[in-house]
Structures are given as structure tokens and as C-alpha cells.
Amino acid sequence: MINRRTLLAATAGLGLAPGLAQAQQRFASIYMFVPANPGGGWDGLGRAIEQAARQAGLVGSFQFENVGGAGGTVGLPRFLAQRRGRADALMVSGSVMVGATLTNKTPVSLQNTVPVARMTDEAGVIIVPANSPIQNIGQFADALKANPRGVSVAGGSAGGTDHIILGLMLQKLGRQPREASFVAFPGGGPAQAAILGGQVTAGISGWSEFSEQIKAGRVRALATTGERRIDPAVPTLKDSGIDVVATNWRGVFGAPGINPTQRQALVDLMTAIHASEGWRRILEDRGWDDAFLTGAPFEEFLTRDRADTEGVLKDLGLA
């Protein structure tokens, strides 16, 4: 018992001591709501924010709540109802929720929250199993153009970022997004297994989920979906003449009913976290792209993103 207590004391000491020296504490505690199960991308972002904020001494403690399911649309109404007016509440969210609120036709959406900051951005990657006859994105595009039904593509849930990328590609190739042979898997693990095992022709997923498999030579990366290349050897879709840019952004949102001053305090907190040394290291370690954006530009971005997503989902027949 003494052993455990000393360790816990050491934990607290290590977490706070360097921080107090660096910056003053802005919040005694932050309530972080994650509308997804532990272990996923949103959960990872929430906990990375905790790590950076505590290291920099900006926040005393964090309280987490995970309410997962249905692209965050199970958790969202809960956050809106239970945290209304709470100035110390943050919810992690991102492009997945924009799509999910549209396909699930939920009465509430991100528009009911108070946008605080976009933090990261992750490009998708199109991969084939290592023994696939498809060598490059050109061959993949040709196969899709010739017979989309014959090219099965594995990814996350229907209407999610992966599905949208496939729909956009088909559109640019002059086919109907509805012709997509998209095979949805629950979560990254089963989708990865199906691609590694060659059960499907190709797969679309976030870069980080496959970066290790690509490095190990188990799958071949054909193209990434961002503006810029992640790996110099892998072209972007835009480089390859398919004008599609689609990424999976993640950020934090405040509770409805907070006043502008309280909102500014949350924006200032995220700005300070973003500027910290710890955050820079986390971005590097995890391979996340910095996509920091706050205030009016973030709101404009949200409006545009929602309109774009809605357009594609309509074409896919899902919204």
C-alpha cells in the first residue's frame, strides 16, 4: 500500500512540478466529453490535450466522460443537455460527427455547440494488399472507372470520411457515387484485417492507422487524400489528376449557453496548449498534422465543411 501511495504521489509531483514553473494555471479543472469509446481518434485527441495541458501546468485536473456510438450522435445530445452553460466543459469532435448528424438526421448537430478550436487534421490513404496486382493510383482509378462494382473498398462506417472519399473519387472519374462497392467495417481493426488478408480489393482509412503496415511492407499505399504529401514517395490524389482533397479534422467545442468571455477563455486555453512544447512533441510522435484554427475562420470552415459533406452524402444517397 505504501508502495502504491508513493507512486501516486510521484505521479502527482511529476505532473505538476515542471508545469508550475512554466505557466500559470488557467483552469482548475476541465470536463472533457468524448462522444466515442476509449481508444479511438477522438479519445486520443482528448487525452493528448490533457497530457499537454497538465505538462504545461495550464489545467489542474481533467475529468473524462466517454459516451460512444453512431459517429458521436449518441453522445452529442447528452453533452448539449447536461453541460449547458458550463464554462469548463469541452467536447471533442470532428468531421465524422458532421457526416453522422447528416446521415442519422439527428435534430441536433455541431451547430448547437460553441466552436472553440480545430486542432488536428489527418489525411486518408488508399491502400491495397502487398500482393495486389494494382501497383499505382492510376491503375486503381482505371479499375474504378471500368467497373466500380467489381472494386470492393473497405473502410469505416457508411457515410464516414472513408466512404465520402470513395464517393468523391467516383464523381471525378465520371461515375455515380452510388455505384461504389463500399464494405463498411466497425472500427479500424476489422477493416485492417480484411485489407491485410486480401478480402477486399482496396481500403481507405486514416494515414496513422496504416502508417506502420505501410512501413512494414504489408500493404501498398497508392495515394493520400490531403493537400500535401505525407510520405514523399506516395502521391496525393490531386497530384495524380483526381481533384479530391478530403481530410479528417478533429477539434474541441464548448457547451451551449456560455457567454463570449467564457468562450474566449476556452479559446485562450487551447491557444496556450497549442503553443506548448508538449503539444509540439505530441504532434510529432503521433504523426498528426497541425490544423489549429479558432474564431471566425473556424466557424466559416465549419459552415463550408457541412455544406460540402451534405452534397456528397446526397450523391451517395445517404442524406
Partner: protein, 498 residues
């Protein structure tokens, strides 16, 4: 590094006083969360993640492994004593386990599940150490077509729990399939049977349904039929396994472990399917002398097999995570994110690049397993005292426990409404002699089978012959046919000879 020197290195690292303390803490926490229906190992590890900021990787993973294995042990305790499964892998254990407890055999049921968990956990961990990288390559060969046929095979197990009337049993099964439809359809993203309730978008939790049907339904039924003034106390009986119990448990443990481990390794396998198949196998293979105990007073084979299958599958789930970096369960996903806190990117190279950490982790799984059986066997005596509580108070306590545990799943009032609605349904099912187990089987297998079927058909462009042209699925389909008609044919054949 070969497996033996790897293990030697791992044990060398794990056997420090601090690491053993972490393992003990993990086992203790894991047992505690396994007992509660709402909180699982994934959530517990998530809550413990901040320790990764200040504790070294070895210590943290030893703690996490203790929690993971501990939860598998704890889950069966409440299944047996209170008919309240703590997690989905323990649902089948409740079928025979709770009946044994009601008939004065709670001690042997808990003991066979603890020892069976130990045996299977050891077999499974040996599997990780020596077979992991090989078996995972086989697992990848199986696609949606094979998964669908595996689920068809599992549907055969329903016949073991149908009860006296096939019509009533199949009605229960279809009720379960209906419950399984609730929520967002994965392949199209469209909500089904959610009636605008956001809590239903993610479907109905299967542990919640099991608790409602088994525990709440039974408690309400007891209240309905209770005669005031009669103070009944359940009989507790002997605590440990008799020689006969041991003999009856041994092969079920082995078969359960053998079934469970490969299912755990399968990327879409999990712990539920092997427990069902193990239950079916034990019911068919049981010595005719003991066969009448199944479904009446509770057969020890029906606890030993599924519990072993559950724990071996739990070990198997770690294989894709360690060998390929693929998270095939919520617990594996959260452990992988813990790897990332240390700047380790888990992938196919984990075994080679982080050999020391991986082998320490495997060694600590062995240690956790031993600790758990040492921790749990003496607890059997303590646990069974719960049954000395007079029946009315005991069932009231079960209701309180089920309510708290259910609320813990996602702090949702809707969950409680579902719990009691289904509890009342289950009460009437008991009254009119409808079996409740097929509901749970339908609910677990239905959605998995539906998704696998549609995935397989999308890939084959709508060609139904894919299930017989792929050798794997054809073989499994053949096994399903044998399992379905085999026992009947055998019965007819032996009847004619007699």
C-alpha cells in the same frame, strides 16, 4: 529472438517487486470491474491512462494486463451467484452456473470457473507466446464469407437451449434478432427501429439485455410467486470441487480453451461465439448419466467449458494486437493508444522493435493468471455467503445491483427503462415457459451474421455461391449441417441397432 529466450527475458523484467505490485493492483481492480455489469476493462484502462505520463511502459502494461485478465475472472462470479453477467463473454456461463448456485452447488461452480479460467488463460498465453505470429496469418485468410458461415454454425447452438417447445424457443430467438436490429445500420448508415431516441442509435447493449432477461426477469418472477411469511434461504453446500467434479470439468476446460483461443485471434471473432459453441459441445458430449442436469439443476460441464472458452478467447484477442498492431476489441484499442503515449507506434514490427516490452507483457500475463487463481479460489467461500441472505432480500439486492450496473454502462436513464421493460417481458416469458437464452443468442449473432452476409455479398457483387465456392466457408457450412442433423441421425441409428 525465439520464444523461449524471449520469455526468459520477460520473466526477468516482470519479477521485480514494483512490477509484481502493479500486477496485483491490476488483478484486484480487474476483478472488481469484471463483477460490475456496466464497467468493463476498456473503460478501466482508459481511466488509468494518465499513469502513462509518469510510470514506465513496463509497469503500466503489467497493470493493464492484470485489469484485462482480472475482468475475465470477475465476470463469471456474478453470472453464477446472481444470474447477472458482468460482460458478454460470461452470459453463457450464467445458463448452468446460476442453476447450480440455486441448487446448492455455487461453490463448485465458482471453483470450476476459477480453475478453468486459469487453465484456459495459461493455454491462451502459451498460444500467444508460441503460436501467435503463425496463427494470425491463418486468421487473416478468413473473410466475411467465412464469418457468416461461422455464425450459421453458432446458430445451431440455439438448439441446445430451445427448451421443450421448439415453437416457443424459436419465438424467443426471433425476438432476439429483432432487438439486434435496433440502431444504425453499419452498411448504409441509416437508423433502424430507433424511434427518434438518440440513445438507441448505437443499438441495445447485449449485457444490458442479458441482465434484464436473466436477473431482473427472475427477480420479478420470484416476487410474483413469493409467499409471504415463508423465510427461505438457499442451500450453500460444499465449496470445493469433489474428485468427480474435477473429472467432469477437465475435458470441458481443455475443449473450451481449444475453441476459445482461435476465435479470439480472429479479427471479428470475440468471446461470445466460442462460449456458445463450447456450451453446445458440452451439452452434446456430456456423459448420459449427467445429461439431465443440463437446464434443470445445472451441469458443471456447462460452466467449465464456456468459462475456459471465454478466457482463452480473451488471450487470443491480444494476438492481432501484438503481432500486427491491429486492435480487434475495445480493450486492445485502448492498450494500443497507451503504446502511443510512450511514442511507440504499434504495428507489424512491434514484436521485433519492442521485443523486450512485448515479452515482459506476455510474462506478466502468466503472472497475472497465477495471481488471479490464488486471489479467487479463497474468495469462493466469501462469495457464496451472499447466498445465505434470505431469498426476498437477495433478489431485492440483485435488482439494486443490476440497476446500478446498468446505469454504469453509459449513465443513461433510457438504459434503465429498457432494463425494466425487458425485465417485465422476461417475467412473462418465464410464466409462459418461453426460454430466455435464445433471445440473447439471437441478439449477439443476428447483427454479426447480417453484417458479414452483406459484406460478403458486396465483395462478391451479389453472388450467393460465394459461400460454397470458398473452401473455408464450404467446410464450416458442412460442419454446421453435421452439427444440426448429426445428433439426430446418430440417435436414429443407435435406436435402430438397439
Amino acid at each position: 529472438m525465439d520464444s523461449l529466450s524471449g520469455l526468459a527475458l520477460g520473466f526477468g523484467n516482470a519479477f521485480s517487486l514494483v512490477n509484481l505490485a502493479w500486477a496485483l493492483l491490476g488483478c484486484f481492480l480487474g476483478t472488481a470491474v469484471g463483477v460490475l455489469p456496466g464497467i468493463g476493462p476498456a473503460l478501466t484502462i482508459a481511466l488509468l491512462l494518465p499513469i502513462t505520463f509518469s510510470v514506465n511502459a513496463t509497469g503500466a502494461f503489467i497493470l493493464f494486463c492484470g485489469v484485462f485478465y482480472g475482468a475475465m475472472y470477475g465476470g463469471s462470479t456474478t453470472s453464477i451467484l446472481l444470474n447477472t453477467p458482468g460482460e458478454s463473454g460470461s452470459i453463457i456461463t450464467a445458463l448452468e452456473g446460476a442453476k447450480m448456485a440455486r441448487n446448492g452447488r455455487a461453490g463448485p461452480a465458482l471453483a470450476t470457473s476459477a480453475i478453468g479460467s486459469f487453465v484456459a488463460g495459461t493455454v491462451g498465453t502459451l498460444g500467444i507466446a508460441f503460436l501467435g505470429p503463425v496463427i494470425v496469418e491463418w486468421a487473416l485468410v478468413l473473410g466475411p464469407a467465412e464469418y457468416f458461415t461461422l455464425m450459421v454454425l453458432c446458430f445451431v447452438t440455439v438448439s441446445a437451449v430451445l427448451g421443450s417447445s421448439a415453437l416457443r424457443g424459436l419465438t424467443s430467438l426471433f425476438f432476439g434478432l429483432l432487438l439486434g436490429l435496433v440502431g444504425i445500420d453499419l452498411q448504409t448508415g441509416q437508423p433502424r427501429l430507433t424511434f427518434g431516441v438518440p440513445e438507441l442509435l448505437d443499438g441495445v447493449n447485449v449485457v444490458l439485455v442479458a441482465v434484464a432477461l436473466f436477473a431482473v426477469g427472475e427477480a420479478l418472477y420470484m416476487a410474483w410467486h413469493h409467499h409471504a411469511g415463508k423465510q427461505e434461504v438457499l442451500e450453500v453446500g460444499r465449496l470445493m470441487l469433489s474428485k468427480e467434479d474435477l473429472k467432469r470439468s477437465f475435458w470441458p476446460w481443455m475443449r473450451g480453451a481449444g475453441l476459445g483461443f482461435p476465435f479470439g485471434v480472429l479479427p471479428a471473432g470475440g468471446t461470445e461465439m466460442p462460449t456458445m459453441l463450447s456450451y453446445y459441445a458440452e451439452r452434446k458430449l456430456v456423459d448420459p448419466k449427467y445429461a439431465p442436469e443440463f437446464g434443470t439443476t445445472g451441469a458443471i460441464e456447462g460452466v467449465a467449458g464456456p468459462e475456459a472458452a471465454n478466457n482463452a478467447a480473451a488471450a487470443g484477442i491480444l494476438v492481432p494486437m501484438l503481432t500486427l498492431g491491429i486492435p480487434t476489441s475495445a480493450t486492445a484499442a485502448i492498450m494500443l493508444s497507451a503504446f502511443q503515449s510512450y511514442g511507440i507506434n504499434p504495428g507489424p514490427l512491434l514484436f521485433t522493435q519492442q521485443a523486450e516490452l512485448v515479452w515482459t507483457l506476455i510474462a506478466s500475463l502468466f503472472i497475472a493468471n497465477v495471481m488471479l487463481v490464488v486471489l479467487n479460489l479463497p474468495l469462493v467461500g466469501l462469495w457464496v455467503r451472499i447466498l445465505k441472505i434470505p431469498v426476498p432480500q437477495l433478489y431485492a439486492g440483485i435488482l439494486v445491483f443490476a440497476t446500478i450496473g446498468t446505469y454504469g454502462i453509459s449513465n443513461s436513464v433510457i438504459d434503465l427503462v429498457i432494463l425494466y421493460t425487458l425485465g417485465v417481458v422476461a417475467m412473462f416469458m418465464r410464466r409462459f415457459d418461453f426460454p430466455v437464452a435464445p433471445v440473447v443468442i439471437g441478439m449477439i449473432l443476428g447483427p454479426m451474421a447480417e453484417q458479414a452476409l452483406r459484406q460478403a455479398l458486396t465483395i462478391s457483387q451479389g453472388d450467393w455461391t460465394v459461400f460454397v465456392t470458398r473452401p473455408g466457408s464450404a467446410i464450416i457450412l458442412g460442419l454446421a449441417v453435421v452439427a444440426l442433423v448429426g445428433p439426430k441421425l446418430y440417435g436414429a441409428w443407435s435406436a435402430r441397432r438397439a
